[in-house]
Every structure is written in structure tokens, then in C-alpha cells.
Amino acid sequence: MTHPRDETISAWLEGDLPSSERRDVTEHLEGCARCREAVEILDSIRSTAGEASPPWPGKQASWDEIADRIGAGTVETSVPWRRWPLIGLAAAAILATILLVPDTRGGLDPATEALLRADRRVAEDVIRLASRGSDVDPGVRSAVLDANREIDRGVDSLAAVLERRPNDPDLAELVRWATSHRIDLLKEVTR
């Protein structure tokens, strides 16, 4: 057999050759010092490449740049997010849970499920539109996403209570109010 090409030796190292060809190469290597040296060189290339690298010294400095670009720092915003209604929303849900109400545990009725699904879709739209690259001011984005998360917490509490009181119109109205507030957030990021 003539000397196998380096590509063939590399394939032999990886077990990528058909069995008959593999046998031929193995037999050749047993009798050829030059090709055994090629095996050592290719193997050292493979093993050196796979060695762990030292830590990246610029990691922290680069994070500062990244944080700046994604608006991850502490950002003061002058947008007057009317947080007191959100507190009221959460408080109403908490109050409802301590009322003596029949434990129906019948799950959500279709109308309530539809209401919550619609709210979920708007919540996802807020995240999607607020997260658009450079279209949204980082300060506005941060404030909008924070407010959206607060509304999530309130709606989650309401959903838990609605499972026990599925037809409660006041609770359903609170969900509608939460959704309308999310729509206000959408307007802020789509101006």
C-alpha cells in the first residue's frame, strides 16, 4: 500500500473509514515509521485544540459594554407609571383570597379562560415589541418590562382566585383592567 494521505490518517484516527480500508491503514502503520509520525502529529493537533483555554481577561469590561447596550443598568425614567393601581390590583386579589367564599374548585369557565388567554397574548406582545433591538429607548424598555412583570403577578393571583369564583364579575373586570394597562404599555413602545 502506498502511504495514505493525511486526510485518510485523520479519518482512521476518528474511526471514519470503512472496515476494509481501516484494516489496510492499520497494517501499513505497523510497518511505516513516517506514517506513524503523521499519526502523532495529527493526534497532537486534535488534543491541543481541545485543551481548555485560559479565562478571558476582558470579560468584565465587555459586560459593562453589553449592559450599556441592552439597558441593563439602573435607569431612572421620567415616565409616570401609575404604580398605585397595580398595588390596588394585587391587594384586591389578596383580599379576595381571604374572603369566606365557597370552594368550588371547578376550574375556570370558558369565558374566564378566554379573558386570561387574551391577557396572556397582550403580555407576550409587550415583551416582543419592547425587546426590539434599537427601536426602543433602553429606559422605556426597562420600565415597560418591569410594569409588565408586575401586572403578571397581579393576574396570576387573580387567576388563582377565579378558579374558586369563576363567574365573579368584579374579578373578571380586574383582569380586563390589567389587560388595558398592558395595552397602554404597548403604546409606549410603539410610538
Binding site: D6, S44, G50, K59, S62, W63, A67, I70, I127, R149
Partner: protein, 189 residues
């Protein structure tokens, strides 16, 4: 929901699926933890694939793009592979941009383009290997980096680079043969 910590094999800092979920929900502190856990490996990938002095900028672009695209990630458990895909995409586009710019400014051979801009580093086989990798044709270089440096299987590389596993194997063996030739020429071995 799994709370088991995930660890990038090359770093000691762990991150959890909860961190990924929080980052998807736009928590920048959670995203910072993901960055700390994964940035060394992404930097290594970018350095080997780009072979230029713009690596730090490229890595920043990777994470900014990852932050923008995080809402698209449906399965937090897939974060590591997803991030690698983002990194490969960003790095390949950046390299295409560099090549187009260099062609406009001073047309060169492919080998010269691949070998330009490698920053000086300490001596040793690893350095010689990095410099040699920078001189490989793009396809061979990408497969070599993803297989021998990053440890991916051929079917994963096929998905990352949009090639067949057979092509991935061929490119790998071609890359190693070329590297041997380059290193022997420079008498590094």
C-alpha cells in the same frame, strides 16, 4: 421545572434553568449570570473562528443579539445550544463583513485574508496552532473549531453550519491535513 444547575464544561460558574427563565422575562441580573457562565467559551469560539483582533466586539454582539432574541427561546433547557447557534451566526456574518471590506480596500488571496490580523500571543504549540487555524479556508476552519476545539458531533455541526454530516467529516480531515502542512512548514513541530 428543573432547577438543576447547568455548567459549561470549561467554566466553574454554574447557571440554572431558573436564570434562563428570568432572563427570558427580561431580568438583566439573571442574564449577567448566564453571561459570566458562558462568555469564556463563546470568546474562545469567536477567537478561533475569527482569528482577528475584533474578537471582544464580536462577543459583545453575540450577547446583545442573544438578549434581543431571548423571548424566542421556548425551551430554557436548550439555552446552551441556542446561544452557540447565535454565536456561530454572528461570527460568520462578521467574518463575511470583514472579508467584503478587505476585498474592497485591497483585494487579497483567501489565504492572506485568513491569516491577517492575528494578534501576537505567547509561544507554544497552541499559539502556532491558532495562527495556523486562522490560515485555513473558512469551511475547514469552522468545522475544525466546532469539532476539535468545541467538541461538537458532526450532526450538530451540520445543523449549525447548514451542511451535511458527510461534508463536516470531509472538512475536518481536510483541516487537520492542512494544519499539519502549515505547522510543518513553519517548523513548529
Amino acid at each position: 421545572m428543573s432547577q438543576q444547575a447547568e455548567t459549561d464544561p470549561d467554566v466553574d460558574v454554574a447557571y440554572s434553568e431558573a436564570d434562563v427563565r428570568s432572563a427570558i422575562a427580561r431580568d438583566p441580573e439573571a442574564f449577567r449570570r448566564l453571561y459570566v457562565a458562558t462568555a469564556d467559551r463563546i470568546h474562545r469560539l469567536a477567537r478561533w473562528m475569527l482569528g482577528t483582533a475584533d474578537v471582544d466586539d464580536a462577543v459583545q454582539d453575540v450577547y446583545v443579539r442573544a438578549w434581543d432574541r431571548l423571548p424566542d427561546l421556548r425551551d430554557p433547557a436548550a439555552f446552551s445550544g441556542w446561544l452557540r447557534q447565535v454565536a456561530v451566526t454572528v461570527v460568520l456574518r462578521r467574518r463575511q463583513g470583514v472579508a467584503r471590506r478587505q476585498e474592497r480596500e485591497a483585494p487579497m488571496s483567501a489565504a492572506a485574508v485568513a491569516g491577517s490580523g492575528v494578534a501576537p500571543t505567547p509561544v507554544g504549540l497552541r499559539l502556532d496552532l491558532e495562527r495556523a487555524v486562522a490560515r485555513l479556508p473558512a469551511g475547514a476552519r469552522d468545522v475544525f473549531v466546532l469539532y476539535d476545539v468545541e467538541g461538537h458531533r458532526h450532526h450538530e455541526i451540520a445543523g449549525l453550519l447548514d451542511i451535511s454530516p458527510h461534508t463536516s467529516r470531509s472538512q475536518l480531515h481536510r483541516a487537520r491535513a492542512l494544519l499539519k502542512e502549515i505547522l510543518m512548514e513553519s517548523e513548529a513541530l
